[in-house]
Amino acid sequence: MSQALSRTERIAALMNGDPAALARAISDVERQRPAARSTLEAIQPHLGRARVIGVTGVPGAGKSTLISRYVTELRRAGRRVGVVAVDPSSPISGGAVLGDRIRMAEHATDPGVFVRSLASRGHAGGLSPTATHVVDLMDAAGWDRIIVETVGAGQGEVDIADAADVRIVVSAPGLGDDVQALKAGILEIADVLVVNKADLAGADQTAAQLASMLALRAEHARDVSICKTTATTGQGVAELAVIVETRLAAGDSRRGCAAQRARRMVATAAGNLLTRELRELEAPWLQEICERLQRGQSDLESAARAVLRSAKLVDE
């Protein structure tokens, strides 16, 4: 069926909300196929209707369970909901087991929910490089609330700040050093702090700890909401949905204009790529720069500048 469609027809189908066209456009982007470029260009004028909610947090805090409940709330409010679930790829094989679907089973037959699992493909547990494009595709296809779930380990989750309008950070009591596990970076991006598993002892303490940690950073304090949920029963999730909608309605958007966003994302992505490449590259000029640094013949900044001068790292 789909083979018969021309590229223009496929873009039209995508923007008409055809789920197969969306699924395929996402794959084109993930596989960096030539078709992706023209699709992304064509949808540019149609972006910005969707609101994007980033969800990250401590592993095991109940993100997936919470998201499933939250989707139920959004569906009740008549929203079409897209979910982008990012899981880490195995650093060794590059493969991944994408299991977030397990907790989304209740939406498995609802055509108003579109879930796509992405492997982080080497991007330290954070946003896969294509996740923001996937969000744009869902936006163009008429999904009006898009949830981006990332695992809360590594530095990647900070990237979510660039992709989301409202950022939810999920923690829970009883995860060991729970609050400490929310590393500085992750707290800084939060607009809403959720203490999930409110049915467990210690939830109030966790919430109090979070509140005092927030108070400590009063200098650059943003207005951060704290709320408690029990994702397994749904308790507190309606309130969470209200908090998010209120923030969205207040124009609480750091997603920024497309141009700024593109700039930040390109900077981050190019930096990540360069880092990965330089760690593995075997090249005499690079060795020389490192040796000069070791011998104290140059400082780190000059060494880095020398690398950028010498590196012509990408072909094609």
Binding site: Q3, V97, A119
Partner: protein, 142 residues
């Protein structure tokens, strides 16, 4: 040089029907991952409509259905539903305990391969990989 990686094959590993044992499919999911594939893993008891929606949204190349009891008898419904949804390129494989007479019935209904107990990892990986690439070629027309 910064080269682009080969694109991982995407496989949906699932179960149909009432049989809730999912240990076998977990093991398969793990070794397909170790072979570099992206495995979408779902809870048991997915019904056919759910599997089709999932396969469509996730744009998988292969659907693997694990069956220990008689759940494989639901698979012809799945292949039919996939075809109806315009997903006829997706290859369906079944793994588990499948009697010979059922196997020929499954093949006739469009199942590409049946893995019996004792199939090795290597066999499964090689077969799934080949089927996935064929599925992708068929869909992309290149």
């Amino acid at each position: 040089m910064i080269s682009r990686r080969a694109e991982p094959v995407r496989v949906l590993v699932t179960k149909l029907g009432l049989d809730g044992h999912d240990r076998g499919s977990r093991v398969v999911a793990a070794f397909l991952r170790d072979a570099g594939m992206e495995v979408i893993y779902t809870s048991p008891w997915q019904d056919v409509t759910a599997v089709v929606q999932l396969a469509l949204q996730e744009d998988v190349d292969v659907v693997g259905v694990s069956s220990l009891a008689t759940d494989h008898l639901l698979v012809p419904k799945l292949t039919e539903a996939l075809a109806q949804a315009g997903l006829g390129h997706i290859r369906v494989v079944v793994g588990g305990i499948v009697p010979d007479e059922d196997e020929s019935m499954l093949k006739r209904s469009g199942v590409s391969h049946v893995f019996h107990p004792g199939s090795t990892r290597e066999e499964i990986v090689a077969e799934v990989d080949a089927l996935a690439r064929a599925a992708r070629r068929e869909r992309d027309g290149d």
